[in-house]
């Protein structure tokens, strides 16, 4: 489990309004640096290479932080971890998929698919649920 104090510190740093900058000694592969420069200049990925890299770094850290915070919560409260079926239902709702109106079907599909595919994704569940719905019609 990640030390909660580390999560607190990362979150606090990301939310800080302090905009002071530092010259980093972080070493980047020269080719990657040139690719970033070219992508900034010619592909419009960001206003500057520095801004582009900083934005990517922030995105990556926020993703890792969210994972860390949720996993820490799940370790304390295992019963709060959503099931694959619940996540698949959320995906269906986000997509406006009509399957969202049949949560029991999604729950059943998730239970069935996990028997043979323990690493099944929410999309796998929805595909299986849709197939089952067609078979039943």
């Amino acid at each position: 489990m990640v030390n909660p104090e580390i999560l607190n510190r990362i979150s606090s740093l990301l939310q800080s309004e302090d905009e002071s900058t530092v010259n980093t000694s972080m070493r980047l592969p020269a080719t990657l640096r040139e690719a970033a420069n070219l992508a900034t200049e010619h592909l419009g990925v960001g206003p500057s290479t520095t801004a582009y890299v900083a934005a990517l770094l922030r995105t990556a850290i926020e993703s890792a932080l969210l994972t860390g915070v949720l996993e820490t919560h799940y370790e304390h409260f295992p019963q709060d971890r959503p099931s694959l079926g619940e996540i698949a239902l959320g995906v269906a709702e986000i997509d406006g998929n009509p399957l969202a109106n049949f949560p029991a079907l999604i729950t059943k599909a998730a239970a069935e698919i996990l028997i043979t595919h323990p690493d099944a994704s929410p999309d796998d569940v929805l595909l299986w649920a849709e197939a089952q719905q067609l078979v039943d019609q």
């Binding site: 995105t59 969210l66 099931s83 996540i87 986000i94």
Partner: protein
């Protein structure tokens, strides 16, 4: 890019460790992450009015859990307040839902996919109109 906007009840579910809706809200956040471009990144946003309505004081000791989440607060500046006031009046909505409507419309104008976790999807749909948003019930 995908943003997930939390209404006051969604905020409360993260604020209280044993909130009965935590698992439901977590499942929708995980779903939004799955649907994002890289299956991982979403930006979580709480409008300031929803923060107030939820009673989330970052300086309170009981907020230590929710303070860890990478949540951006959307401030209610003068321009946003005027916009929210128009929405609230037009649709008879609470200030927090009206500001969610402002954030939805602002984000959608940037070609961002917007998902709102809310206890009142009908109110959010009206607040965001004519912008289409995924208002997911929690």
């Amino acid at each position: 890019m995908t943003v997930v906007i939390l209404d006051s009840e969604a905020v409360q579910s993260l604020l209280w460790p044993r909130h009965p809706k935590f698992r439901l809200v977590a499942s929708k956040i995980e779903a939004a992450r799955w649907r994002s471009t890289n299956h991982a990144h979403v930006t979580l946003i709480v409008p300031a009015a929803a923060q107030v309505e939820a009673g989330w004081d970052r300086k309170s000791s009981r907020a230590s859990g929710i303070n860890r989440y990478p949540i951006a607060i959307s401030s209610l500046d003068a321009e946003a307040a005027n916009f929210a006031a128009r929405i609230a009046t037009k649709h008879s909505l609470k200030p927090a839902d009206a500001q969610i409507g402002v954030v939805c419309q602002t984000q959608t104008a940037r070609d961002v996919r917007v998902i709102v976790l809310t206890s009142n999807p009908d109110a959010i749909t009206r607040a965001a109109s004519p912008t289409p948003v995924a208002a997911i019930r929690i």
